[in-house]
């Protein structure tokens, strides 16, 4: 049985990876609504959004068809056959968004250096600052490209990105809308507000403690992958998509080596099938999505030791291990299979908007690579076993006149205990709770949010989950934010 005291380089490396992923997630989950689409189309926000960033049925069509409706004067050209071969907007489709926030938790979080507790009460300005290039590029190619300044790292980095080619074809009595998406986050190209990239909470605190366990498709790959997917929608009802992702980590040299920490081995297939129906003021969707991936942990044979610099500060240093190093190009793999179900119902009338959305992600994994790295570092002989991790998330929201409203967002994470992955006292991933959020939109592109998240279980337990006396409810969070898109 592995215990916390046996934590070594492999464990530390995994935690480092988890931390890096968390940073990516924090930046990549910040969803967006893009005024440059409004400028391009001449349509008000309400055409595509109930309340940003949630999409209306028309917004889904706009995305499905490649973000290319353009009702503004363009610089155009045609070839000899009179085919349009240039459609440049007079003005670049550039937008920005800024988020300022304040976070307070029930009890201050532990200090990251183990020195007591962190300051409780975190003002973030900006929590996030994003620039978008979002709009038509050619007559059949459109983009959603987001660059984000992350105050945590002090750097500007690639955030969500979706560049797509779209077309349509008549069928016998029907129509197929199809396209190809190049994107950097599985589910960012999706049309419904059920999937990890585009579901509630659309804005969340970067300062609050959040559960450490997440399935692979649940934003764990956001921003550090490259994927190509092909999709088709038949008669605005049946949607199918298939694609493949590979690693494209940011901030590391190329070709990718052990500095990349973790890489997908080969390609990771992704799929999505959904049916949607619209009637009256209502729309309903039910579907499935998922992916399969094999990854390798790199450099995890290195021992992490702590030295002291000239000023006496502790510094983590990776030293060369005595064993053979596990590389990214050979050896055992961590094998993941994520299968998810999702459903969404929307009622959109002139004054009242109701949305119910839910998803359940089930992940089976066998972490051969992580176990091998662990054994190398610890001299143990742990066999990787099959584990599962499940995430269930729901949201019920109501808005009046797109002016004021709120949502209830229950969530639950549960799965197998895994000492290779989880840092909690009982090495279980279980977390559950609910977020209540109230929103006020004085204008359609300005949102003031106040959210309270209550945990009944956190990282495995309700009480003393970290073995140091911290309870799940200590992480209960009050979070308020101002979100402006312009």
């Amino acid at each position: 049985m592995l215990t916390k005291s046996s934590s070594t380089g492999a464990r530390s490396m995994w935690l480092a990876i988890a931390g890096a992923v968390s940073l990516l997630v924090l930046s990549a989950t910040q969803a967006a609504a893009v005024p440059s689409y409004a400028r391009q189309t001449g349509l008000a926000c309400e055409a595509c959004h109930t309340v940003f960033p949630e999409l209306t049925p028309f917004g889904r069509k706009f995305k499905l068809n490649g973000y290319i409706i353009n009702n503004r004067e363009q610089i155009g050209d045609v070839d000899q056959a009179a085919h349009k071969n240039l459609a440049l907007s007079f003005f670049s489709p550039v937008s920005a968004m800024v988020v300022a926030s304040y976070t307070h938790t029930a009890k201050a979080a532990p200090d990251s250096n183990g020195l007591g507790n962190a300051n409780n009460g975190t003002a973030a300005y900006p929590q996030q600052l994003s620039l978008f290039y979002a709009g038509e590029i050619t007559p059949q190619i459109g983009s959603f490209i987001q660059l984000t300044y992350d105050p945590g790292s002090g750097a500007i980095g690639m955030d969500n990105s979706d560049i797509r080619y779209a077309d349509s074809a008549a069928t016998n009595g029907g129509k197929i809308n199809w396209g190809i998406s190049l994107n950097n986050n599985p589910t960012v190209q999706d049309l419904w507000n059920t999937v990890p990239a585009w579901s509630n909470p659309y804005m969340a605190s970067a300062a609050a403690q959040t559960p450490e366990a997440a399935t692979l498709i649940d934003q764990s790959l956001a921003g550090n992958t490259a994927g190509v997917t092909a999709y088709a929608m038949l008669n605005n009802t049946f949607y199918g998509e298939f694609g493949v992702y590979t690693s494209a980590p940011q901030g590391v040299g190329q070709p990718y080596d052990t500095a990349a920490d973790t890489l997908i081995s080969g390609g990771a297939p992704y799929w999505r099938f959904a049916g949607q129906w619209e009637w009256g003021d209502n729309s309903f969707e039910i579907g499935t999505y998922g992916m399969s991936a094999k990854t390798r942990v790199a450099g995890s044979c290195d021992m992490q030791t702590q030295l002291t610099d000239s000023a006496g500060n502790p510094v983590d240093v990776f030293t060369t291990s005595s064993g053979p190093c596990q590389t990214l190009s050979a050896g055992p793999t961590d094998n993941y299979l994520d299968v998810a179900l999702d459903t969404q119902y929307q009622f959109i009338a002139d004054h009242h908007i109701v949305t119910a959305a839910a998803t359940w992600i089930h992940e089976n994994s066998k972490l051969n690579s992580t176990a091998a790295a662990f054994n190398l570092a610890n001299g143990t002989d742990v066999m990787a076993s099959s584990t599962h991790l499940d995430t269930v998330r729901g949201s019920l929201s109501y808005f009046y006149n797109r002016f004021i409203g709120g949502s209830i967002q229950p969530f639950e994470i549960f799965g197998s205990a895994n000492p290779l992955l989880f840092d909690s006292a009982n090495v279980k991933p279980n977390s559950d709770g609910v977020t209540f959020e109230a929103d006020y939109l004085p204008w359609l592109n300005v949102k003031l949010g106040l959210a309270y998240t209550a945990y009944t279980k956190f990282n495995g337990a309700s009480r003393n989950y970290d073995g140091a006396g911290r309870n799940a409810s200590d992480n209960n969070t009050i979070y308020t934010y101002l979100w402006v898109a312009f």
């Binding site: 409004a38 189309t41 001449g42 349509l43 008000a44 309400e46 055409a47 049925p57 028309f58 069509k61 706009f62 068809n65 409706i69 009702n71 503004r72 004067e73 349509s168 008549a170 129509k175 605005n236 619209e278 009637w279 009256g280 003021d281 729309s283 959109i348 002139d350």
Partner: protein, 202 residues
């Protein structure tokens, strides 16, 4: 038996031809295929009542409305949110082509499963008006079958919710039309639901 089958098939074909006589549908304009159809459908039948059915709508009415959108003369909320932008770049020729296309399409089927009492009350309003509210008979202008005439729009088979929203917009002057405002300004919400249900059922 074979002769009967041939006769029946011929009769069905002639009936189908007769149903569409005089309404040769022109090629679908690119603007319709790429943009209009996303809300109004390729065949002018929309999937959501927020967006009106345009199939078989009067061509001149469509031209007038598209120009009103383009020139911001029609200012109800959804016109501003959607159609000001959509119609903004349209030339007069494009408007004419789009209007001719939708006008030539087969009319929508009337809605089923409506409240029969509401439909019956709406029919009375349509045919006789409401004297007490100074509401004239709708059919006087929109035609006995609500199929419209020239710049007077077709109402038959339109979405009930869309019709009700437009009457409300006339009543509150959000959609600025002095004639229609005078016609509906005293209508109650219940009467609006009734007339909308009846027209939707046609």
């Amino acid at each position: 038996m074979r002769s009967i089958a041939i006769l029946a098939a011929t009769g069905a074909a002639l009936f189908a031809l007769g149903a569409s006589a005089g309404t040769t549908v022109p090629p679908e304009p690119d603007m319709v295929a790429n943009t209009c159809s996303q809300c109004h459908g390729d065949r002018g039948i929309s999937s959501a009542p927020l967006f009106p059915n345009l199939a078989a709508q009067d061509k001149d009415y469509l031209i007038t409305q598209l120009k009103n959108f383009r020139e911001h003369k029609r200012s109800d909320a959804h016109a501003q949110a959607y159609m000001w932008g959509m119609a903004g770049p349209l030339s007069d020729d494009a408007i004419a082509d789009i209007s001719a296309y939708f006008a030539a399409l087969p009319a929508p089927q009337g809605a089923k499963n409506l409240d029969s009492a509401e439909v019956a009350a709406g029919r009375t309003i349509f045919e006789k008006g409401i004297d007490a509210e100074n509401v004239p008979a709708c059919g006087a202008c929109h035609g006995d079958t609500a199929a419209g005439t020239s710049t007077i729009p077709r109402l038959a088979g339109q979405h009930r919710e869309y019709l009700a929203a437009q009457i409300l917009a006339f009543r509150t002057n959000q959609r600025n039309d002095p004639v229609m405002h005078g016609n509906v300004e005293h209508m109650t919400d219940e009467q609006i639901r009734q007339i909308a249900s009846y027209l939707s059922s046609l």
